[in-house]
């Protein structure tokens, strides 16, 4: 089943073409890595997936629905890149707030909050105000809020930023565990080695256009190349391949 579907999606801001004819799909239960340099259009794509704005051209659907519809977002969990959550709340209050927005019952919020706070390793800091949290702790609080309503699709924007090595391992375990539960994870990242470890498929974006999308097995090819080398090759190589008539900007089967 296709959880995320983008068809010839384009978005322009003024004279800048942020996303250009992007077509890709994300299937249920997979971990999908969305890679690209700064300004490649990753965050713009994510915002369209969340319905923050509509594409100028093309179609976006999430779990078969238009993401602009609030009901469609019931099954989406989103963690933004470095959000500085409300500094006057503690993590329990933060989760209670987001739980309220999701329409969860108070008892469910309490149960899920306790569970997630333990899972992201914030039990000891649970009563402290978020203004006293480090960047890594805020990231963990962000993960907790994204998972609070038990979404089917998790969209993570640069989730590894600010996490220490131990937290990264925990995060990786968490993501893999979620996949085992049948959740779909769509995450954008600069961290190629981490992506290589956990992603089933990756897409590489350059200047708003898709330059490559496929499984890591396809990327590895002869087994000699890692994701980092492929990434560099794709970004440097793309114009030449486009001239040569190779498929660029289209998802591989």
């Amino acid at each position: 089943m296709e959880v995320v579907k983008l068809e010839h999606v384009s978005k322009t801001f003024g004279t800048v073409k942020a996303v250009n004819g992007l077509t890709l799909t994300v299937r249920q239960g997979e971990i999908f890595g969305f890679l690209g340099t700064n300004g490649a259009g990753k965050t713009t794509t994510i915002k369209m997936l969340l319905g923050f704005f509509r594409p100028d051209a093309g179609q976006v659907s999430v779990l078969g629905q238009n993401p602009g519809d609030p009901a469609a977002r019931r099954a989406i969990g989103f963690m933004p890149e470095t959000a500085y959550y409300y500094p006057y709340l503690n993590v329990r209050e933060l989760l209670a707030f987001y739980g309220g927005l999701c329409g969860m019952a108070k008892a469910d919020i309490r149960r899920r909050s306790a569970e997630l706070i333990a899972r992201v390793g914030l039990e000891e800091a649970g009563g402290r105000l978020l203004r006293h949290y480090s960047k890594g702790m805020l990231q963990r609080a962000g993960i907790a809020q994204a998972l609070l309503h038990d979404p089917d699709l998790l969209i993570l924007d640069e989730p590894l930023t600010g996490l220490d090595p131990l937290a990264r391992i925990r995060f990786r375990d968490l993501i893999l565990d979620l996949r085992r539960q049948g959740k779909t994870i769509f995450f954008s990242s600069h961290d190629l080695s981490e992506s290589e470890l956990i992603c089933d498929r990756v897409a590489i974006l350059k200047q708003g256009s898709l330059v490559w999308c496929g499984t890591l097995g396809e990327v590895a090819g002869d087994g000699q190349q890692n994701l980092e080398r492929i990434f560099l090759k794709m970004l440097g190589d793309a114009p030449a391949r486009a001239v040569a008539g190779e498929p660029v900007g289209e998802e591989r089967p």
């Binding site: 915002k47 969340l50 319905g51 923050f52 704005f53 609030p70 009901a71 469609a72 977002r73 019931r74 989406i76 969990g77 989103f78 963690m79 933004p80 890149e81 470095t82 959000a83 500085y84 959550y85 409300y86 006057y88 709340l89 209050e93 209670a96 707030f97 987001y98 739980g99 309220g100 927005l101 999701c102 329409g103 105000l129 962000g142 809020q145 994204a146 309503h149 969209i155």
Partner: protein, 260 residues
């Protein structure tokens, strides 16, 4: 409780919690006490017995601080959300933008009104102890109309927070509200004394500007005039509701078009 009400409650609770956690109110109360206590024991020319000036100063402070709190809270509703990017996780939840707006507005109003209630309770007790009259009808009316004032001010602040920078919002709305408090009563007379285009500008301001002076019953409270008719009171509150609704509709339009 319906899903939407639950969401509005969560959003409103956030604003109320912010006001109390930021300790703004404590600062305001301490400031009030510092100003009013010396006035209460002051005996001009060695003659005691004057109380109206204390009442006037107390109500002036209540108005000033309620304006500061109302505008401050409402002007802070959205800009920090955009700056700290918490607007993204918020809007990624199954919540409509209109609901976010309504919840934020309800929060700003609830926070401001809760502070106002404390102010009026303190004023009522102070005046009761000094003058022996406990919460007269005119004070109840003054409180009700002051809520109407806050309804308009927070709606203006909310609208401004979506279309202006925070400092521009505070400056513009602060000037508009205080300007209307001082000159609102005389706008039509001022307009008729002007030539074009001043007359048109002032007439438009008279028609569409927020007539916050309607909500100001300080003169009646301080000088012990009788309360206004309840029909007038209801008409003024209806004006507040209508004006706030208009501001919220414009704000909803701006929020829908807002790009993050």
């Amino acid at each position: 409780m319906s899903h939407r009400v639950c969401q509005i409650k969560a959003l409103a609770g956030l604003s109320v919690l912010e006001l109390y956690r930021r300790k703004d109110l404590i600062v305001v109360f301490v400031l009030c006490a510092v100003i009013l206590l010396p006035l209460m024991v002051f005996t001009p020319f060695g003659v005691s017995g004057a109380s109206r000036y204390v009442n006037e100063m107390a109500l002036l402070l209540v108005w000033l601080f309620s304006l500061v709190i109302g505008l401050g809270v409402s002007a802070r509703l959205f800009p920090p959300e955009f700056e700290s990017r918490t607007i993204y996780p918020m809007l990624s939840k199954p919540v409509a933008r209109g609901t976010v707006l309504a919840g934020k507005y309800a929060g700003a109003l609830a926070a401001s009104v809760s502070a106002l209630a404390v102010f009026y309770a303190a004023y009522g007790l102070l005046a009761g102890v000094r003058q022996g009259v406990w919460f007269p009808a005119v004070l109840v009316q003054a409180f009700a109309l002051h809520i109407g004032f806050l309804a308009v001010v927070t709606a203006l602040g909310l609208l401004g927070s979506l279309v202006l920078t925070p400092s521009a919002n505070l400056t513009m709305m602060g000037l508009t509200v205080t300007g209307m408090l001082f000159f609102g009563q005389r706008l039509s007379a001022l307009a008729s004394a002007q030539a074009w285009p001043g007359r048109t500008v002032l007439t438009l301001l008279d028609w569409f500007g927020p007539h916050v002076e309607f909500f100001d019953l300080r003169q009646r409270v301080v000088h012990e005039w009788p309360p206004i008719g309840w029909d007038v009171c209801l008409a003024v509150l209806a004006y507040a509701a209508g004006y706030a609704a208009l501001c919220l509709m414009v704000a909803a339009f701006a929020f829908r078009k807002k790009r993050f």
